[in-house]
């Protein structure tokens, strides 16, 4: 199956809007600093043009399910 991202190992990355981020953190009862990180210099973050402080949603494929994972963009 051809992947949208260009390589098998790279799942689809997408930017999460600020409003959605707020809701997300509320439902997960998390502070934004608790999220796993991704550097702003990361090839995928550069591709999206993400700025530090934004959240990237990663659609991980595991077996037959697609599960969202979130990373906050931080400065390198």
């Amino acid at each position: 199956m051809p992947s949208k991202s260009g390589h098998e190992l790279v799942p689809v990355h997408e930017l999460v809007s600020d409003k959605e981020t707020k809701e997300l953190l509320k439902t997960m009862n998390l502070d934004i600093t608790n999220l796993p990180r991704i550097f702003s210099t990361d090839p995928q973050a550069v591709k999206l043009g993400a700025r530090p402080g934004q959240v990237i949603r990663i659609l991980r494929r595991f077996e037959n399910a697609t599960l969202p994972y979130y990373r906050v963009v931080v400065e390198d």
């Binding site: 390589h7 190992l9 790279v10 990355h13 973050a45 595991f62 990373r71």
Partner: protein
């Protein structure tokens, strides 16, 4: 991992407060004891022998910058992968051949200012190269020299009698890349038993250079060098590569561990945005709690540092709470009683007075 419970099979759903890290550690650690410490190899079967077993696991978990045996798995475009001959054409373009591989000897003639390269005819033929091609490659590499093909070798006229220049040139010739991709290593063709597809395996990790070659499938080509993947594709790809490598290494030893445990380790190692090892210089050495760090390694260093700088231990982890004999924040222990400040004011001290 944030797993939405409704989307995952109930069987795998994790309860809140479940110590998934400890379970992962035990699940990998127990079968890990059965792994052979130093792997033996079977002679003559594979041209690229990779590190396997426990040494490989340690390499991955310690986040070593370069694997001791880098390997690139080069998959080919659909049509090319089906035919052995076309796969061989791609192999020729990828396979790294240096002058030192095809030259028998390099003779320097200082008085005439010439260098003679004696070629190994057999090697030349097996790489499908001609002496003419090699000569033009040398001319390109050195510039300002004339290389002519003669019986038994190539004569290079340096147009100079400077000793230093000639010696430098002969060293440069030996290192020169004749054909293939720089850093790709020696490549061999393999056949996938399941799909009948041909693919290449090479002993290098220049994945970017290999992907630029015509006929190589850019989507599937991968390497066991996790850091190379990280640099090229970013942290998520590195996480997947790390998990896949752990999985493959264990599978090779016929050890079955649930994938989720392995990917949890990969998640923990990549949570900071870069790949960190799990040891003293990585995850364990960066814990917030002083006690947890002191309980692991270099006890005095951490305690003295904490005393000198007035560090505060929030006592939120497992290790430090076991250490002081408190309930650990796992499962039922992770539930705390809380009351809002405003509600506290509503409680009247009436009942207390009666007693």
């Amino acid at each position: 991992m944030f797993m939405a419970r409704d989307k995952v099979d109930k069987k795998y759903a994790v309860e809140y407060g479940e110590p998934v890290g400890i379970i992962a550690a035990q699940s990998v650690g127990e079968p890990g004891t059965q792994m052979i410490l130093r792997s033996f190899h079977l002679a003559g079967i594979e041209s690229t022998i990779s590190t396997s077993g426990l040494p490989r696991i340690i390499e991955l978990v310690d986040a070593k910058k370069k694997p001791s045996t880098p390997i690139t798995y080069i998959y080919l475009d659909e049509r090319i992968g089906k035919s052995f001959d076309r796969a061989q054409e791609v192999l020729k373009k990828v396979n790294e051949v240096r002058m030192s591989n095809i030259a028998k000897r390099v003779l320097e003639n200082f008085s005439k200012g010439k260098i003679k390269v004696i070629l190994d005819v057999q090697e030349l033929q097996s790489e499908n190269l001609t002496a003419r091609q090699v000569a033009s490659r040398i001319e390109k590499e050195l510039g300002k020299v004339d290389a002519t093909v003669e019986e038994g070798g190539i004569i290079i006229n340096m147009h100079t009698k400077n000793l230093k220049d000639i010696r430098a040139a002969s060293i440069k010739i030996m290192k020169a890349l004749v054909s293939g991709v720089d850093g790709a290593g020696k490549a061999t063709i393999r056949k996938d038993d399941r799909t009948g597809e041909f693919y290449l395996v090479s002993g290098g990790s220049n994945i970017e250079g290999v992907m630029a070659v015509d006929g190589v499938d850019k989507e599937r080509t991968t390497t066991n060098d996790v850091f190379a993947i990280y640099r090229l594709f970013g942290i998520e790809a590195a996480r997947n590569a790390l998990g896949n490598e752990l999985k493959r290494t264990l599978k090779e030893q016929k050890i079955s561990v649930e994938d989720r445990h392995l990917f949890l380790i990969a998640d923990a190692m990549t949570a900071s945005g870069t790949i960190k090892g799990v040891g003293r210089h990585g995850l364990s050495g960066e814990k917030k709690s002083v006690f947890a760090r002191a309980a692991y390694e270099e006890t005095l260093k951490h305690l003295i540092h904490a005393a000198a700088y007035g560090e505060v231990d929030p006592m939120k982890g497992v290790t430090e709470n076991i250490l002081v004999g408190k309930q650990i924040p796992i499962g039922t222990g992770s539930v705390k009683l809380a009351i809002k400040k405003e509600d506290l004011a509503k409680i009247k001290p009436k009942d207390a007075k009666k007693e």
